[in-house]
Symmetry: C2
Subunit: 331 residues, 2 copies
Amino acid sequence: MTTYQRMVLASRPKGAVTPDNFRLEAAEVPAIKDGEVLVRNHYLSLDPYMRMRMEDVKSYAAPQAIGEVMIGGTVGEIVESKNPKFAVGDKVNGMLGWTEMAVSDGVLLRKVDTTHVPLSAYLGAVGMPGMTAWYGLNQIIQPKQGETIVVSAASGAVGSIVGQLAKKHGCRAVGIAGGPEKCAYVVNELGFDACIDYKAGNLEADLKAATPDGIDGIFENVGGEIFDACLARMNPFGRIALCGLISGYDGESMALNNVRQFLTMRLSMRGFIVSEHMEFWPQGLQELGKLVATGQLKFRESVADGLQSAPEAFIGLLKGKNFGKQLVKLI
Amino acid sequence: MTTYQRMVLASRPKGAVTPDNFRLEAAEVPAIKDGEVLVRNHYLSLDPYMRMRMEDVKSYAAPQAIGEVMIGGTVGEIVESKNPKFAVGDKVNGMLGWTEMAVSDGVLLRKVDTTHVPLSAYLGAVGMPGMTAWYGLNQIIQPKQGETIVVSAASGAVGSIVGQLAKKHGCRAVGIAGGPEKCAYVVNELGFDACIDYKAGNLEADLKAATPDGIDGIFENVGGEIFDACLARMNPFGRIALCGLISGYDGESMALNNVRQFLTMRLSMRGFIVSEHMEFWPQGLQELGKLVATGQLKFRESVADGLQSAPEAFIGLLKGKNFGKQLVKLI
C-alpha cells in the first residue's frame, strides 16, 4: 500500500452541512522520521462537536482549516515505528482525523488494551463520549440517590452512558430520544426508567408523566424546545450540564424561554468541553473500562463503511439518523 | 396613637402592577404578650423581588396572600417590650412588611447600631441589597484582579454595591443603567470605569467599547436584551450571578438568544436568593458596615413619603424611575 485516502474540509457549510463541504483525496504514504510512528486507522469517530469546528466563528477551539484533514478521534494500529514507546501491532487511540493513515510523534497517542474492551469502544464508552458523560454527570450534576436526571439524545454515544451511570448513582434516569425504536432501546436495553419520544408531538405532557417528582439534573445535548421543556420541570437547586446544542448547529434559533426558572429555582448551569479536564480522564476511563469489560455498561454502534461514506454518516448524525455511537470503519 | 396604617395586597397584577392591587387599611395598635415587642417602623424597603411574590406561581417562596400585609424589609424602633432581649428605643431591622407598626416575637429582629451607619442603610448597603451584591459577586462570580465585571441596574441598591466591590477586587467595573444622569452618577460618584445607557439605543456598540477585553463576570439584574448583549461579549470560563430579571416581571418575553455562548465559552451561571445563604451574612454585613462607616462605599436613596405613597413608588421602581435604593419613610 503506497497511497491512502483522507477527507479534507472543502468549504464551510451555509446552514446545513452538505456532502460538497468535504473532499476525498488520495495521498502518498509518507516516510517516517526518528521519533515518529505510522498509524493505520481502523475506526473514525463522528461527533457533533465537529459541526461547530467547521464554522469560522470564535469558539473554544480554532476552526478547522479549509483544505486540511477533518479533525476527529481515531483508533488504529501501529504499522511502522521509529519511536521506542510504540511497537508495530500496538493498538492506539488518538485524534488523527478523517484519514486512513497518519504520522504521529506519539505524544498524543494512547496505547489501548483490547483484551476485555473492543477497540471501537475507545471511541465511545471508554473514550471521549464516555468521559463527556462521566464528567458532566459526576462533576457538574453531582447526582444524589433518589434524584431525577434527564438526558437528551439518550440513545447516543454520550446520552446512553449518562443514563446508565445515573442509575448506578441510584437516580431515576429519564431519556429523550427521537422515535419509538430508540426509546424502546433506551428503556429495555440500557435500563433507563423512562424515555420520551420527542417526535411524538406530546413533549411537555410526556415529560411531566415521566418526571413525577420534577427534575434535579439535566444533561443537555440538544437545546431549543427540548431544553425549555425540561427547564420548566426543574426542582430547586437543580444542576444543568450543558454539553451540546445540536438542534442549533445549523444556525437555527436556540432561544431559551424559561430563563426565569434559573432564578426562581436557583438553578446552576455550566457549559463544558471534556478535553479541558484531562485531570479526570485516568480515573474516569478506568471506571468506564471496568464497567464495559464486566458488561455493566452497554453501548451500541452505527458503523458506516469506508472513509467515502463519512460525510453522509456525519450529516445523518446531525439529524439524529444514527442509532448509538456513530463510527466509520476505515481499513 | 391608638391606630396605625398598613398596606395589604388587594389583588394580583395582570401584567403591570397598578395602584389598585394594594389597599391601605387602618388597624388598632394591639396589646403585646410576654416575649413580644411592638415596633414602630421608620423606613420600608421596596425591592423588585416583591413583584414576583405578588403572583400566584411556583417560585422560591410562597406567594403573598391576598388581604395580608405586603411583605417587606423594615427598620424601626422598639416602642414597647415584653422581651428581655429588646429595650424601648432599640433600633431594629426586620421583615415586618408594609406597615407602620408591628408586633414581633423578636426571633427575626436584628438590633442595629446607628453610631456610624445611618438607620436606613440597614435596608440598603448594609442590609439585604448589600448582601445580595456581596454574595453574588464574591461567592458566584469570584472576581480576579484585572477581570471585567458588568452589572445591570448599576445605579440601584444592589448594582451600585456590586461595582464598588468589584473595584476593590482590582477589576474593571462596567455598569448598565437607564439615562445619562444615572450613568454619570455611576461613573463619577460610584467610581465605575464605565456605564452604558441602555436607553441610548446603541447597546451593543457601547458595550463593546466599554469592555475592550471582553466580560469575565456578569451580575444580572435585568435579563432580556441587555443580558443577551452581555453574553455575546463573554470570555471563556465567564461566570454569571443571576440575581434578578426585572425586565420580565410583568410577563414580557425573557427569551435568551445567545445560549450557544454558554457552550462555546464554557460559561457557568447560577440563580440565587441571598436569604438562603444566611451563613455568609455575619461576615458580609461586617465588611459592608465597615466600608459604609468609613465612607468607602457610597449609596444613594430615593425616599417616598408615607405609606400611602408606597404603591406608586413600587410601580416606579419596577420601571426604573427610582435613583438608588427605594425607601418609604413611614413615621
